[in-house]
Amino acid sequence: MPKKTIREVIHDTVQSEMRRDPTVILMGEDVAGGAGCSGEDDAFGGAFGFYKGLVGEFGRGRIIDTPISEAAYIGAAAGAAMTGLRPIADLQFFDFLGVCFDQIYNQMAKFRYMFGGKSDTPLVILSLVGAGLRCGAQHSQSLHPQVTAVPGLKVVMPENAYDTKGLLLTAIRDDDPVIFLLHKLQFENACEVPDEEYLIPFGEASFVREGTDVTVVAFSAMVAKAVAVADRLREEGISVEVIDPRTTSPLDEEAILESVEMTGRLVVVDEAWERCSVAADISSIVARKAFGALQAPIMTVTAPHTPAPFSPVLEDLYIPGEDDIESAIREVIAYRR
């Protein structure tokens, strides 16, 4: 099977969906690039090159470069979605949420409900979260809790190229607004990806490692770290189950609860700030619904309550690391009432 990076998967999936369905369009800043310039068209293909080449195939009528005005174009994507298109709106960094948030939580998320079920808003906002690029506090955030909280939105956070394909297909064909969040450090990660079409349903967790001593829930860039720790601890005889929910909304509660019923111990890893994080959210669900099974405190491993620092030495401390995950696991394993 061919290996593909997440970047390639995004490209190929957007391309195949645009071929299949003429109502799919792509819009955002420099999704093509080169408009109004003296050089090449298709100069950027998105800030990270995801869409390179698509403007050649589909033209500027469907690969739409926008001025730097996120409220307008994210809102326009919603308006287009209400009226017969299936837009994919690229938001370069999810850190820019703040300039277009109204269109997300007050507009697209609420239409179906406010309008009594009489509208579809099929659009995907594709963006990047996370720290590690050494870009300072305004370009290193994990703001997925801000949208996971909002009824009417679905939030996808894939960790690998295989899942990205199946989830992105589902997202583009979904009739509700989907926030599709990749991690800034991850889009060059490759794995085997079948050429055939396959859809991964939302709300179905993936059991990345099976284990019996402790459940670790991790998503996005945190999955690989959890797996590394799990594999290391396995050699010591500690059996760690690693669950990747893949979508934070809907959330596969069942998978998590079932696992905790078995292991009795839970560590949740989330790159977001600790307060009101998805880690806190999952912890609270388990503390409510699987309390009887719990044999130890529920540990959350998150970024601290500080903005992301620029200096690499500080940023490395800021991002939840394998050591943090490992010591959380050891703590719950060692715990005796």
């Binding site: 109502t23 369009i25 009528g61 469907r62 739409i64 926008t66 001025p67 005005s69 409220a71 307008a72 174009y73 994210i74 809102g75 326009a76 994507a77 919603a78 308006g79 287009a80 979605a81 209400m82 009226t83 017969g84 298109l85 837009p87 109204d102 269109q103 007050n106 507009q107 239409f111 179906r112 409900y113 406010m114 309008f115 009594g116 079920g117 009489k118 509208s119 579809d120 009824p151 009417g152 679905k154 979904d174 009739d175 509700d176 939302f202 709300g203 809907p250």
Partner: protein, 331 residues
């Protein structure tokens, strides 16, 4: 504002004139009655009435079909009626009833009917401008010949999302009309204070599209300007802006004591700036329609509104299960 003479370039036939009259009268009667119902307590929440501005919504929507779109504001009843939303469903919606046009889940600020191209009233000032740009993009991409009209208040004209939307529509050359209704107030703040340039259409024009100012109390003036803009849009020539000068006969919301208006201001405006008598005078003088025809419409409108309110009052509230439905298509 000095009232300009009604223009006369537009030729509307008798049926169209009666339709225009019916729409304006329906809006006025609906709003008047909803104000009363609000005061009685049968309409919960906030209610913003459109009275005085009827000519604008009516003139705009008479240039549109169901495959054109409008995006509205918190003051959306008039736009909704003009775009063809069911008046009974609206009355029930405002009362939070199961028979409401949005099942009672939206309310006054969220009246919508996508089958009519009405993309929703909007509780967020400026919130619908980007949506209309998107609807225009959709019409253009799907090549339907449709246009999208974004209704924006003078207060709302200062929102960032509105400015961005104008630029985006110009850049993508979309069939969008930015329809500014300058009623002189944003809540309790005067337009002349809040719009630094004192000129909404001039500012819109500087974004790179044709923009004009019209007398919003003159149905015909608005109709003509909109016709030009809509034609431009349908022809693929891009967006336009219109600033229609009008007023607001009521407060910002029902119950607003309007201390910010000098005593007598509203009375004077009711005498001088009421678009309905202006329209009636004109069509009677032209002999385009008979007084009798207008009176028949008055009676029909009154009974429609009466019926709508009675049915709405009698209608059931949504069942408790409705709290949880319509959040997602699938989840």
């Amino acid at each position: 504002m000095t009232r300009r003479k009604a223009t006369s370039g537009v030729k509307l036939d008798r049926e169209q004139l009666l339709r225009a009259y019916r729409t304006m009268r329906t809006i006025r009667a609906f709003e008047t009655r909803m104000g009363q119902e609000f005061e009685k307590g049968t309409v919960p929440g906030f209610t913003h009435l459109y009275s005085a501005q009827e000519a604008i919504a009516t003139a705009v929507c008479m240039n549109l079909t169901d495959s054109d779109y409008i995006g509205s504001t918190h003051r959306g009843h008039g736009h909704s009626i003009a775009k063809g939303c069911d008046v009974k469903g609206m009355a029930a919606e405002l009362m939070g009833k199961a028979t409401g046009i949005c099942k009672g889940k939206g309310g006054s600020m969220h009246v919508a009917d996508l089958s009519k191209g009405m993309l929703g009233a909007n509780g967020i000032v400026g919130g619908s401008a980007p949506l209309c740009v998107g609807a225009g993009l959709s019409a253009k991409t799907r090549n339907t010949g449709g246009v999208a009209v974004s209704f924006i208040g003078d207060g709302g004209s200062n929102e960032g999302a509105v400015f961005e939307s104008m630029n985006l529509a110009v850049v993508l050359k979309l069939p969008v009309l930015f329809m500014y209704e300058n009623n002189g107030y944003g809540e309790a703040t005067g337009f002349s204070y809040a719009v630094g340039s004192g000129d909404i259409s001039g500012r819109a024009g500087a974004f790179g599209m044709p923009a004009e100012k019209v007398d919003g109390t003159d149905f015909f003036a608005v109709y003509e300007a909109v016709q030009r803009a809509v034609e431009r849009g349908r022809a693929g020539d891009g967006p336009s802006a219109i600033e229609a000068m009008t007023t607001r006969f009521g407060g910002h919301f029902v119950g607003d004591p309007q201390l910010y208006r000098a005593k007598g201001e509203v009375e004077k405006q009711r005498r001088e700036m009421d678009c309905i008598p202006v329209f009636v005078d004109r069509v009677l003088k032209d002999k385009s329609v008979t007084r009798k025809a207008l009176q028949d419409i008055d009676a029909q409108v009154e009974s429609l509104i009466e019926e709508a309110v009675e049915e709405a009052l009698a209608a059931p509230y949504p069942g408790p299960e409705e709290l949880f439905t319509d959040v997602y298509k699938t989840y």
